[in-house]
C-alpha cells in the first residue's frame, strides 16, 4: 500500500519542459531514500496548468508543484515527503475546488468537468484506474440492460451536439446509420485535430483514452457497427501510443472483441494515423484517407451515415463527443441537460490561446460568457492591454468583438451572429495586434492546407493571400480590398467543402468590424509639391 501518490503530468507541453527526466529523477531518488514502497509516481494527462513547466500533484495532500526541475527533486523528497513541509517556492496555489470530481484542481473555478473528469486524475495507461472511476460501467449497462434503441434515445434526449465544430445532434446522426441495413457499419473517431490553437482532443486522448474507447463501443452498439477506427493526427505520438495501450488493455480485459459482456455484440478497434493534412479533419476526406486515397472531401449527399467508409454506413464523431457518451448513458439524459443551456446542453472544452494570462485547456458549461472565460478563468489579458477581438473555433472561426463579451456561448447564439463554437479554440487578441497581419496569417494557413480540389478554394486562397500581401507591402489599392471581399463572398457560397466555405468567415468578420485597418494600408497618392 502506498502512502503517497505523485501524479506527474505527461503531455506535450510538460514533456518538452523535461517531465520525463523529472520523473526518472523522482523514481531514482525515491529508491535511494528507500521510499519506493511508500510513494508511487504515476504518469497522468494534463493537469490543466499550462506554460508553467513540469507540473505534478502530491496526494493525499493535493499539493501542486509547477516549474519543477531535476535539481528540485531531492528538495521535494527531503522536505515534503520526509519532513512533511511543502516547498513553497515551487507550489502552485491557484486551485479553487470543484464539485464534479471532488478532487482539487487548478483554476477549476467556473469549470465543470465531464469530459475531462479523469484527466489528470487517473493513470491513463492503467485500465484498472479507469474502471475504478466507473469506467466501462455505461457500456456494461447498455449491453445488459438496454437495447440499441434505448441508447440512441438517451443520447437524443440528452441533446448532445457534435463537438467537432458543426454541432449536429449526435443522436440524430446515429439514427441515420441505425436505420440503414448493411452487412458492415463503422464507427470512426475523428482525432485528426488540425485546427490551429486547438489541442483539446489530444489532451482528452492523453488523459483518458478509455472514455473515447467506451464512447465508440457504445456508438457501435447503438447503430449496429462492429468495427471502429480511431483516426489520430500522426504528430500526436503520445495520443497514439496511449490509445494503442488502452485498446490492448481493453482487449485483454474483454471490453473489446467478440461477445462482449456475454452478449452477441462484438466490437473491435484499430488506429489509423493521419499524415498531417488539415483537410483530413473533414469527415469525408478522413474517410478517403482511411481508404488509402488522397485526402479530399467527397460530394454530399450521400452522407457518411448512409454511405461512408468503403461505401458502408459510417458514423464519424469527434473525440470530445464520444468522451461524453459513457456518462450520458450512465447518468442519464436529464443529468446531462441540467448542464449548459436549453438548446446546447452539456459542457464544452475550450483551448485558450493568444494574448491571455492563463492559456490552456478548460471545460465549462455551455452558456458561459466570453468575459467569464477571458477575465475569470483566463485571468485577463497580459500587461493590462485592451481586448480587441476573440476568434472562436479555430482559423475558420467567427470574429467576436467587445460587443459580444457578454453573449452566452452556445451553438445557437453564435449561429445567430454568423459564427460558431467550432473546435473550441479561443484565440484572444489584444489591442496591439494589426488586423491585416492577423488575417494574412489565417489565409497563409488556408492556402497551404487547401486540398486543391475545387477552383474557388485552391485558387481563391492563393489570390486572397496575394492581395493581402500587396496591402501589407504598401502597394495595395481600394480595389484590392474589394476583391478580397468579393472572393470571400463567392468562396463562402460556392466552394466545395467546409474548408473553402469557412475560410472567408474571419476575413469577412474582420472586414466588418475593422475595415479602416485595411484601408489605412492603401497606397496614398504622392503629394503634389
Amino acid at each position: 500500500m502506498h502512502r503517497i501518490h505523485i501524479l506527474i503530468a505527461m503531455d506535450g507541453h510538460t514533456i518538452a519542459q523535461g517531465a520525463r527526466s523529472v520523473k526518472d529523477a523522482l523514481e531514482r531518488e525515491l529508491k535511494m531514500a528507500a521510499l519506493a514502497d511508500e510513494v508511487r509516481v504515476v504518469e497522468t494527462g494534463s493537469l490543466g496548468i499550462y506554460n508553467k513547466g513540469v507540473v505534478m500533484v502530491v496526494f493525499p495532500d493535493a499539493v501542486y508543484y509547477a516549474g519543477v526541475k531535476v535539481e528540485d527533486v531531492s528538495e521535494i523528497i527531503s522536505e515534503h515527503l520526509i519532513k512533511g513541509r511543502k516547498v513553497d517556492r515551487l507550489q502552485y496555489t491557484d486551485i479553487p475546488e470543484t464539485e464534479t470530481t471532488g478532487v482539487p484542481a487548478p483554476r477549476f473555478g467556473k469549470q465543470v468537468r465531464v469530459v475531462l473528469k479523469n484527466a489528470g486524475v487517473i493513470d491513463p495507461d492503467n485500465i484498472d484506474e479507469y474502471i475504478a472511476h466507473d469506467g466501462y460501467e455505461a457500456f456494461g449497462k447498455a449491453l445488459t440492460e438496454m437495447n440499441p434503441d434505448a441508447v440512441r434515445s438517451t443520447v437524443k434526449e440528452s441533446g448532445l451536439q457534435g463537438r467537432g465544430g458543426a454541432f449536429f445532434p449526435t443522436g440524430l446522426k446515429w439514427d441515420f446509420a441505425a436505420k440503414e441495413t448493411a452487412e458492415q457499419k463503422y464507427i470512426v473517431c475523428n482525432a485528426d485535430e488540425g485546427e490551429p490553437g486547438t489541442f483539446k482532443d489530444r489532451l482528452i486522448l492523453e488523459g483518458d483514452p478509455h472514455a473515447v474507447i467506451e464512447g465508440m463501443a457504445l456508438a457501435g452498439f447503438a447503430v449496429g457497427a462492429t468495427k471502429g477506427y480511431v483516426y489520430i493526427r500522426g504528430e500526436y505520438r503520445m495520443s497514439i501510443d496511449r490509445m494503442q495501450r488502452a485498446i490492448d488493455q481493453a482487449k485483454e480485459n474483454g471490453l473489446l472483441g467478440d461477445n462482449l459482456f456475454g452478449t452477441d455484440f462484438s466490437f473491435d478497434l484499430e488506429i489509423r494515423e493521419g499524415a498531417g493534412a488539415y483537410i483530413c479533419g473533414e469527415e469525408t476526406a478522413l474517410i478517403e484517407s482511411i481508404e488509402g486515397k488522397r485526402g479530399e472531401p467527397r460530394d454530399k449527399p450521400p452522407f457518411p451515415p448512409s454511405e461512408g467508409l468503403w461505401g458502408k454506413p459510417t458514423i464519424v464523431n469527434n473525440v470530445e463527443t464520444l468522451a461524453n457518451i459513457p456518462q450520458i448513458i450512465l447518468k442519464g439524459a436529464e443529468w446531462y441537460k441540467s448542464l449548459g443551456t436549453e438548446k446546447s446542453p452539456g459542457t464544452k472544452v475550450f483551448t485558450m490561446v493568444g494574448n491571455i494570462n492563463n492559456p490552456g485547456l478548460i471545460e465549462v458549461p455551455m452558456g458561459i460568457t466570453l468575459r467569464e472565460i477571458i477575465y475569470d478563468i483566463g485571468q485577463g489579458i497580459p500587461n493590462g492591454k485592451g481586448f480587441k477581438l476573440a476568434q472562436m473555433g479555430g482559423t475558420t472561426g467567427g470574429i467576436l468583438t467587445s460587443e459580444h463579451l457578454d453573449l452566452p456561448l452556445a451553438a445557437e447564439n453564435l449561429r445567430e451572429i454568423g459564427s460558431g463554437l467550432g473546435s473550441g479554440a479561443l484565440l484572444v487578441v489584444d489591442e496591439d495586434q494589426e488586423i491585416v497581419d492577423l488575417v494574412t496569417n489565417f489565409v497563409e494557413f488556408f492556402n497551404h492546407e487547401s486540398c486543391g480540389k475545387c477552383t474557388l478554394c485552391r485558387e481563391g486562397t492563393g489570390r486572397l493571400l496575394e492581395r493581402l500581401e500587396k496591402l501589407s507591402s504598401g502597394e495595395g489599392e481600394i480595389k484590392d480590398i474589394d476583391m478580397i471581399e468579393e472572393l470571400a463572398v463567392v468562396m463562402m457560397k460556392g466552394a466545395f467543402c467546409g474548408l473553402g466555405q469557412a475560410a472567408p468567415v474571419p476575413i469577412l468578420g474582420t472586414l466588418k468590424h475593422f475595415r479602416p485597418e485595411f484601408e489605412k494600408l492603401v497606397k496614398q497618392p504622392e503629394a503634389v509639391a
Binding site: C451, G452, L456, K493, F496
Partner: protein
C-alpha cells in the same frame, strides 16, 4: 421509374428520379457551363462553373452532381450564380498560359467555350504559371501541365474507364498538378498509351506526339515512295474535324484528300484486317484442334497489348501471335508490295492514319521491323490527318470521291467492322463458320457481339463444337475478363479485347469531343459501310486470296509467321525496373 417535377428558372420540368440539375436544365434547353463534367465520367464538382441556386439552400449547388428533388426550385441565372461562375472562370484562366493560337486545341477548347459562353471581357488576376513540367517521355502522349485546369477528367478516365491509373494529383493548395507516379514521366510508367485521357481533356494539356512534320518531310522528299494506310474507324469520324455531324461516313472523299496531300499510294488497313482474320482464325482453329492455350485473345489493339504486358504478363500465352493490321500492312508494304513493283524497300515511307495514339508507340516497338526496316514509319491520328489537310486548304466535305489503290486497298465488309467493338469477333465468326462448316452463312450480321456494352458474349455452333466467345471494350472491362481467366473461370474459346470504349471508333486519336452518343453514331456509320460492301467476308477478299497464292503460301505458314506474327513480353510497371 419514379418521376420528379421541379422548376428551373420558373419553368416546370419532369424528369426521372436520379436526374441531375444539369441534365434537367438541358431538357429545358438551358446549357449550364461546365468544365470538369464529362458525360462518360461521374461528376467531381471541382471546377465550380456549373453552380446554381436552390431555393432554401445557403450554399450554391453544382448542377453536375446535384440530384433533382420533388418541388425543388432552381435558379441558374441570378447575380450570385453569375458572379460565382465568373470568379471561378477568371481564377482558372489566370493560371492558364493563354497562348491559344499556338495550342493544338485552338478552336475546340472547352475553356475558350466557357469564356465565350460567360461573355468574359476581363480578367482581374495576373497570370501565375501552374507547376508541372512538359512531359515528352512517351512515344504516344505529350503532357503539358502548364495548360491543365485540374478538372481531373484524365485521372478519372485512366482510373475508371481504363483501370490503369498512370496519372494522379500531386501537391496541394495553390500548387496542385497532375503527374505520373514519382514524376517519372508518362513514357516511363505503366501508361498503356491509349490516349483516352487526351479525348477527355477539355484543353491542350494532353495531346498526341506530333508526327505531321515527319510526314510532310517524307512527302517533300522526291526519293521517297510514300504510301498511306487508313484504319477502318477513321472514315467514320474524320468528317467531324471539318464540322460534319458525328456518324458522317466520308470514306472515298478521305481517299481523295490523301491523294491531294501527295501520297503516292492510298491503301487501306482494311486489307490487312481481312488478312488478320485469315491468320487469327487459323490460329484459333489450330489451338482448338491441338489443345493450345485457350481462350485465345485478340492482338489488334496496341493499348490492350501494353495493358496485358504491364498488368497480366502471366496471361500472355493467351494472346494471338498475329501482329495488328497496321503492322501486317507495314511488313507487306516493304516486302510484297516493294517486290511486286520493283521499289527498293528502303525508299518506301509507310504512313498510317489511325484512330489511336498507342499505334504511335506500336510502330516503334523493336519487334516491328520484320521487313528489314521499321515496318511503319509514322502514325497520324485522325486529328493530325485533318490538321494536315487544313494546313493546305483541303476541306474534306467539298471533295469528290475516289477509290483506294490496288492491291493493298481492296477489302471487305468484315474488315471495316474492325472499327467497332465486336467487329473482329464478328468478322472472325463469319469466316471460321464458313471454313469449318463449309456452309454459307445466311445472315452475316452477328448481333450478339454488336453494341456498346462493356462485355458481350456469343456462342456459335461449328459442326457440333460450340464456340464460346466474349468481347470487351474499355480496359476496366478487359480487367474483369482477365481476372476470370486467371481464376480459371472463363469458359471461352475466343475473346476480342479493345482498349478503348466502343473500340477504335472511340479511340484516343479520334476527334474530340467523345461521348456514348457520338460513339454510337460512329458505330452506325461503320455498319453502314459494311452493308455497302460487295464482299462481306474476309476469306473472300480476292486480293488476300491472291496474296496467299502467289506469295505467302498457307495462313500460319512459314512466310506468314516471319512477317505477320510476333510475340510480346512482360513489362515492368516502371522503366528502371525492367527485367
Amino acid at each position: 421509374m419514379e418521376n420528379i417535377t421541379l422548376t428551373i428558372d420558373g419553368k416546370t420540368v419532369t424528369v426521372p428520379k436520379g436526374t441531375t440539375v444539369l441534365e434537367a436544365a438541358e431538357k429545358l434547353n438551358i446549357k449550364i457551363p461546365r468544365l470538369c463534367y464529362h458525360p462518360d465520367l461521374p461528376p467531381v464538382s471541382a471546377c465550380r462553373l456549373c453552380v446554381v441556386e436552390v431555393e432554401g439552400d445557403r450554399l450554391l449547388r453544382t448542377a453536375c452532381s446535384w440530384q433533382c428533388q420533388e418541388g425543388m426550385k432552381v435558379s441558374t441565372r441570378t447575380q450570385t450564380v453569375r458572379d460565382s461562375r465568373k470568379m471561378a472562370l477568371e481564377l482558372l484562366l489566370s493560371r492558364h498560359p493563354m497562348k491559344c493560337t499556338e495550342c493544338v486545341r485552338n478552336n475546340f477548347c472547352e475553356l475558350q467555350d466557357a469564356a465565350e459562353q460567360l461573355g468574359l471581357r476581363e480578367n482581374r488576376f495576373e497570370y501565375h504559371e501552374r507547376k508541372g513540367e512538359l512531359d515528352l517521355s512517351s512515344a504516344a502522349i505529350v503532357r503539358d501541365p502548364s495548360k491543365c485546369i485540374l478538372c481531373r477528367r484524365c485521372i478519372q478516365t485512366c482510373e475508371l474507364v481504363q483501370s490503369v491509373s498512370a496519372i494522379g494529383l500531386e501537391g496541394r493548395g495553390y500548387e496542385v498538378w497532375v503527374d505520373t507516379p514519382f514524376g517519372k514521366g508518362i513514357g516511363d510508367v505503366a501508361c498503356v498509351s491509349c490516349g483516352q485521357c487526351i479525348d477527355r481533356c477539355p484543353v491542350g494539356a494532353l495531346y498526341e506526339n506530333d508526327h505531321t512534320a515527319r510526314v510532310w518531310a517524307a512527302l517533300d522528299d522526291p526519293t521517297k515512295h510514300v504510301v498511306v494506310q487508313t484504319a477502318p474507324a477513321v472514315r467514320a469520324s474524320i468528317g467531324e474535324m471539318f464540322g460534319m455531324a458525328p456518324g458522317s461516313l466520308v470514306t472515298n472523299q478521305f481517299v481523295t484528300g490523301l491523294r491531294m496531300l501527295g501520297f503516292d499510294k492510298v491503301f487501306d488497313t482494311d486489307f490487312t484486317a481481312d488478312l488478320t482474320i485469315m491468320e487469327e482464325g487459323t490460329e484459333l482453329l489450330g489451338r482448338v484442334k491441338n489443345g493450345g492455350t485457350l481462350p485465345l485473345l485478340t492482338s489488334c489493339s496496341p493499348g490492350w497489348i501494353n495493358f496485358i504486358e504491364h498488368f497480366y504478363p502471366d496471361l500472355l500465352p493467351h494472346v494471338s501471335s498475329c501482329k495488328s493490321p497496321q503492322q501486317m500492312f507495314g511488313a507487306l508494304a516493304k516486302t510484297y508490295y516493294a517486290e511486286k513493283n520493283g521499289i527498293d524497300p528502303k525508299d518506301i515511307y509507310c504512313v498510317s492514319i489511325m484512330p489511336c495514339t498507342a499505334k504511335k508507340y506500336e510502330c516503334g516497338r523493336p519487334e516491328m521491323n520484320d521487313s528489314g526496316f521499321q515496318d511503319v514509319d509514322a502514325v497520324l491520328t485522325t486529328r493530325e490527318a485533318a490538321v494536315m489537310m487544313k494546313q493546305v486548304g483541303i476541306n474534306l466535305p467539298d471533295l469528290h470521291e475516289e477509290d483506294y489503290d490496288d492491291p493493298l486497298g481492296i477489302s471487305t465488309g468484315a474488315a471495316v467492322i474492325f472499327g467497332n467493338t465486336g467487329g473482329v469477333m464478328e468478322a472472325a465468326l463469319r469466316t471460321v463458320y464458313e471454313i469449318v462448316t463449309e456452309k454459307t452463312l445466311d445472315d452475316v450480321e452477328i448481333k450478339d457481339v454488336r453494341g456498346l456494352e462493356g462485355i458481350k458474349e456469343a456462342e456459335i455452333d461449328l459442326n457440333g463444337l460450340k464456340v464460346k466467345a466474349a468481347v470487351s471494350n474499355g480496359l476496366a472491362n478487359a480487367r474483369k475478363l482477365l481476372d476470370k481467366i486467371a481464376a480459371g473461370e472463363a469458359e471461352y474459346h475466343f475473346i476480342e479485347i479493345m482498349a478503348c470504349p466502343g473500340g477504335c471508333i472511340g479511340g484516343g486519336g479520334q476527334p474530340i469531343p467523345t461521348s456514348e452518343d457520338i460513339r454510337k453514331k460512329r458505330a452506325e456509320a461503320i455498319y453502314l459501310q459494311d452493308r455497302k460492301m460487295e464482299i462481306r467476308k474476309s476469306h473472300e477478299n480476292p486480293a488476300v486470296i491472291k496474296l496467299y497464292e502467289e506469295w505467302l503460301g498457307e495462313p500460319n505458314g512459314h512466310k506468314a509467321h516471319e512477317l505477320l506474327h510476333t510475340h510480346y513480353d512482360k513489362k515492368s510497371i516502371y522503366k528502371e525496373n525492367a527485367a
